[in-house]
Structures are given as structure tokens and as C-alpha cells.
């Protein structure tokens, strides 16, 4: 701000506003600082609360399948396994679905239809986790038990993955519901990426006589690949920590079952189920150590995804 041309009578006003500006700026800096501090605070609090379990079980915590509140013997293996497997099922289903959906919204549907369908898909992301849980447990799990699981058992039953009684609840059902839940997140970003690919590039390919699929496969996807991977990891992060929907349908068993029809658990579902009932200090501490593991996995996935998306948006010099 120019100050040299001020007359003497202006000075008090100028000083008062400078003081106001300094206070205001400090307030905004403090608020901005709060967010990274919270992030670090969460990590430290989890670490601090899980110290007793860390000391007692050491690295064995990661490899033990024990989960016995009576003898206070705890291991995270089944929860970690369940978290990874349910997420894997979700991604196997959600990634092709959301890519196809983004293709539909950007290339195939007329603009008005695309807007309506796009909004409906976005609403899938707005539905609270617990509602997916209610629907999953009362409606979708019986549907799985009556139709999908018997059919899978008949056709793919020679694989150990699809053996066992069709109970409805279990790893597979949890994975499928997770897929529906992360679909809108991956789709939203993929759709942006697809529509950001310069039209000239696409038109050049169309001009050569390429079909819509060939343009997508050979031009659009390679062009936005980094961002698409970023979007996939964003969805992966969501699936890893989804709590309520999974808790309702996964069966909550601490045993690892080879069949995807079997019951299992995830880190988040174990926490949701057992935390408020845990009374002994070692039990609580072990549960918080589970939380610490989930925090570290989520942090790594988020960091990777942010990095990719940032790199892509920067190289396209848009947004962020």
C-alpha cells in the first residue's frame, strides 16, 4: 500500500487499519496452522495410547491371529487381512465400473442426460455409511445368499474362494457394497480428467476414423493416466477405512477364512464393534494400535494419491 503520499491527518487511520490487518492475518494464520497440527496430534495421540500394546506385543502384533480379550492376547493379522481383501474386492469391481461410467458421462450421453446421471451418481456418495449398512444387512445380504452366491458357487465353486455355505454376510458382500460406495469418488475425478483432455487431441483421433472406444483407450486414458491412478488411490483410501457399512455385513469374526463367502473383519469394523465395550487397559490399547495401523496405511495412500493428482493438474496447469 502506498504510504508516502499520506497527509498527517490520515496517519492514525492508517495505523489503526494496519493493526487491524495484523491481528486479522494472525487469526487466519493460527487457523491454518491448526490443520497440520491436528494431523500431527492425531498421530501422536494414537501412538501414545497404543504404547502399552506396542511394548507388550512388539512386531508380533502384526503377524498374530490371536484375538482373545479374556487372556488379553491380541494380534492384528485377521483385521489387516480383512481390510486388504475387502478393499481389493471393492477396487476390482469399482475401477472398471467407474471408468466405464465416466466414459458414458463424458463421451456417450447427451449433455442433459449426462448432468442428470452425474448428479444421481454423486448422490451415491452423499448417502451415509450406516444407511449402506442397513440396506446391506437387511436387503442386500439376503439377495446375495439367495441369488449371487449360489450362482457363483455353481460356476466358480472349484475355486476355494467361492466355496462354503451362502450365508449372505461375509467378505464378498462387504467388498461389493464398498465398491458401490467408492464408485462415485473415483468416477467424479475420472470424469473431470476425461473432460479435461483437449478436444483437439480427441478430434484428431476421431478424424483418423477411430471409434469412441479407440479414442478412449489409446488417447484419453494414456493422456490422463497419472490422474486416473491418483483417483483410484483416493477411492482405495475410502474403502480401507469405511466403517459402518462393513461392520453391518462382514460377520465380524477374528478368523481368516479362505472362502470369500466366509465371515471376517476389518480394522475399522473391529474398532466399531469392540471399542465401547473394551474395559481392560490392554484391550483398549490394542484396539488403538489397530487404529494406528489404519492411520499409517491411510496416510500413505492419501499421500500417494495427492502427489499423483497434484502432478497431473500441474502438468496440465489447471486447478489446485
Amino acid at each position: 500500500m502506498p504510504t508516502d503520499s499520506l497527509t498527517i491527518s490520515d496517519r492514525p487511520v492508517q495505523q489503526a487499519s494496519a493493526r487491524g490487518d495484523r491481528t486479522f492475518r494472525r487469526l487466519t494464520v493460527a487457523s491454518a496452522l491448526l490443520i497440520p497440527l491436528l494431523m500431527g496430534g492425531i498421530f501422536l495421540a494414537l501412538l501414545h495410547q497404543s504404547l502399552p500394546a506396542l511394548k507388550r506385543f512388539g512386531f508380533g502384533f502384526l503377524t498374530s491371529q490371536q484375538w482373545n480379550p479374556v487372556t488379553e492376547n491380541f494380534g492384528a493379522l485377521s483385521s489387516i487381512y480383512g481390510t486388504l481383501v475387502s478393499t481389493l474386492i471393492a477396487m476390482v469391481l469399482a475401477v472398471p465400473l467407474s471408468l466405464a461410467l465416466a466414459l458414458f458421462l463424458v463421451e456417450l450421453a447427451p449433455p442433459r442426460l449426462s448432468r442428470v446421471v452425474g448428479t444421481i451418481i454423486e448422490l451415491l456418495a452423499a448417502i451415509p455409511s450406516i444407511i449402506y449398512g442397513m440396506w446391506g444387512m437387511f436387503i442386500f445380504a439376503p439377495f446375495m445368499a439367495n441369488y449371487i452366491q449360489p450362482a457363483l458357487g455353481k460356476t466358480l465353486g472349484w475355486l476355494p474362494l467361492f466355496q462354503g455355505p451362502p450365508m449372505g454376510i461375509g467378505m464378498l458382500t462387504a467388498g461389493i457394497i464398498l465398491a458401490f460406495m467408492v464408485l462415485p469418488f473415483i468416477c467424479a475425478i475420472t470424469r473431470d480428467i476425461f473432460s479435461l483432455v483437449p478436444n483437439v487431441v480427441k478430434e484428431a483421433a476421431f478424424g483418423m476414423g477411430a471409434t469412441t472406444w479407440e479414442v478412449t483407450y489409446k488417447v484419453t486414458i494414456p493422456y490422463g493416466l497419472v490422474g486416473i491412478i491418483g483417483a483410484v488411490f483416493l477411492g482405495l483410501g475410502r474403502a480401507l477405512g469405511e466403517t459402518m457399512a462393513v461392520t453391518f455385513v462382514i460377520g465380524n469374526s477374528h478368523r481368516i477364512s479362505t472362502s470369500l463367502f466366509g465371515a471376517g473383519n476389518t480394522i475399522a469394523s473391529t474398532l466399531a464393534n469392540e471399542f465401547s465395550e473394551a474395559t481392560k487397559a490392554m484391550y483398549v490399547s490394542s484396539l488403538i494400535e489397530l487404529g494406528l495401523i489404519l492411520f499409517i496405511i491411510s496416510y500413505a495412500v492419501q499421500m500417494f494419491s495427492q502427489m499423483l493428482l497434484k502432478r497431473m493438474y500441474r502438468s496440465w496447469s489447471v486447478g489446485l
Partner: protein, 281 residues
């Protein structure tokens, strides 16, 4: 290069196009299915008692969820009052003052990571921060958890919305000699008002359906809350407890509560989408 036969290429294109259309139909079908189930099962639970009475003891029919409705409203409102001013200020820093500083990079990164962090982790943090020192589950802990979830969302949307305000407005105000804080509060905020309100409403919608961060902070309670220092009843944890119970009457109430939450969240989301779109075009 030898050209591939046109028929095969057209077939591949057709297959992929139908798969794309199919996945769009599947997505819409799932949403319609969920909404239909929630509405058809939830409506049956609605009556005057549902909104005005307290829960009955286990196994007894009748009663309502008035306490949980009040608890959810109070906790969401207070969390909003805590998180929104802080989020607005952080957003102002990012959009108006930061100019590529390291603090801004850190804040933006942490906010993005926090937005994607599982909400149950935030619940454990609030447990360690509030429940452990106080020695009991309380509404305060629930409010802290919800506010932590809202804060980064509010900060990032504020930044995005303030960036949409053209610089000429700021320059015009600066030329008149207005201090930065006046410019931000009375010029930039006013220009971005609709966007800011939309962002806040979206954050409220996101938080009002949260269950995981309340499970071991606010817990739940069958009584009307008298103070936030005690376990505080709320709709989402009630849904969880009632759905897992063996009583049909409680399960029906869980569906009623689901309809209330889903209806509220979807209405808020649709409303904000609508206003955002009108502003854009």
C-alpha cells in the same frame, strides 16, 4: 500397418458402449434401490410418538426417538459453530494471504489427507483427547470429533470459493484505502456468499450422517440429554444399536431414523447442488 477389419472394431466399440451404459444404469439402480427400501420401510415407523416421545425399555413397543433427534441436532449445530469460523479463517489464509508459502502447502496437504482419513480414526482421537481426561463418554467428545471432520472440508471449500472472486474487486477496494480485513469480510465474503453457504451446508450434510466418530465419544443414551457432559443420544448410533437388536419394533425404529437421516442429507445435498449450478451458468 495393416488396417484391422472395420466390423471387429465396430463390435468392440459397441460392446464397450453398452458396458458403459450398463454401469450407468447399475449405479442409478443401486441408488434407487437404497432410497426405495429406506422410504418404504421407514415411513411405517413415522407417527407422532416417533418425534415426541422417549425410547421404551428393550422389548416394549411404542415410544419414540425424540431424544436422539434433539441430540443429533444439538451436536451437529455446535460442531458447525466450532468448525465453520476456524475453517473460514483457514480458507481466508489459503486464498488471500498465503501466496505459495510453506504453511499453505502444509495446510492444504493436511486438509486433503484429513478429508480422506477414516472418520473412526477421528473418533479415537476425540476419545483420547476428551473421553480419557474427563473419564466418561460425553456430548463434548462427540462435538469435538464432528468439528474435526468439518474443519478441513470448510477450509478447502472456503479457499475454492474465495478464489472464484475476481481480483478486480479486491483492487478496487484497496484503491479506496480499505484495510485487508475489511476487504475480506465485507467485499470478498459478500461476493462469495452463496458459494460459502453451499460449502458449509455440504459439510453439515456430510457430518450429520456420521456414526463411526460418535460410537465411542458421544456413545448413546435412552434419556433426554440434560448436559453435554454425559453420554448423548443421537440418531446414527441409535440406528446401529436398534438394527442389531432382536426386537422388530426397534428395527422398525432404526428404519425410521434411517429415513430421517437419509432424507435430510439428500435434501441438503440436492439443494446445494441446485444453487451451485445456478450460480455457474
Amino acid at each position: 500397418m495393416k488396417p484391422r477389419p472395420a466390423a471387429g472394431r465396430r463390435l468392440a466399440n459397441l460392446v464397450v458402449s453398452s458396458l458403459a451404459t450398463g454401469s450407468a444404469l447399475l449405479g442409478m439402480l443401486i441408488l434407487a434401490w437404497i432410497v426405495w427400501v429406506v422410504v418404504s420401510r421407514g415411513l411405517g415407523a413415522f407417527n407422532l410418538a416417533f418425534f415426541t416421545q422417549l425410547p421404551t425399555p428393550p422389548g416394549m413397543e411404542g415410544g419414540g426417538l425424540a431424544n436422539a433427534i434433539v441430540g443429533t441436532l444439538v451436536m451437529t449445530l455446535l460442531a458447525t459453530l466450532v468448525a465453520v469460523p476456524l475453517g473460514l479463517m483457514a480458507g481466508v489464509y489459503l486464498a488471500e494471504f498465503a501466496q505459495g508459502s510453506r504453511l499453505a502447502d502444509n495446510t492444504r496437504f493436511s486438509a486433503n489427507v484429513l478429508i480422506g482419513m477414516p472418520s473412526i480414526i477421528i473418533g479415537i482421537f476425540a476419545y483420547a483427547l476428551v473421553v480419557v481426561p474427563l473419564g466418561r463418554f460425553s456430548g463434548y467428545a462427540g462435538i469435538v470429533a464432528l468439528a474435526i471432520i468439518m474443519l478441513p472440508i470448510a477450509a478447502r471449500t472456503t479457499e475454492d470459493m474465495l478464489r472464484l472472486v475476481p481480483n478486480t474487486l479486491r483492487e478496487a477496494a484497496l484503491a479506496l484505502g480499505a484495510p485487508r480485513w475489511r476487504i475480506t469480510l465485507s467485499i470478498v465474503f459478500r461476493a462469495a456468499k452463496a458459494g460459502l453457504i453451499t460449502g458449509i451446508l455440504l459439510a453439515v450434510a456430510r457430518v450429520s450422517g456420521e456414526t463411526a466418530p460418535l460410537l465411542f465419544t458421544a456413545l448413546n443414551s435412552p434419556y433426554m440429554m440434560t448436559s453435554l457432559g454425559q453420554p448423548t443420544p443421537n440418531l446414527t448410533v441409535t440406528i446401529f444399536n436398534y438394527a442389531m437388536s432382536p426386537y422388530p419394533d426397534w428395527q422398525q425404529k432404526a428404519w425410521g431414523a434411517s429415513l430421517l437421516i437419509t432424507g435430510g442429507v439428500l435434501a441438503l445435498t440436492l439443494f446445494t447442488r441446485h444453487t451451485l449450478r445456478e450460480r455457474k451458468t
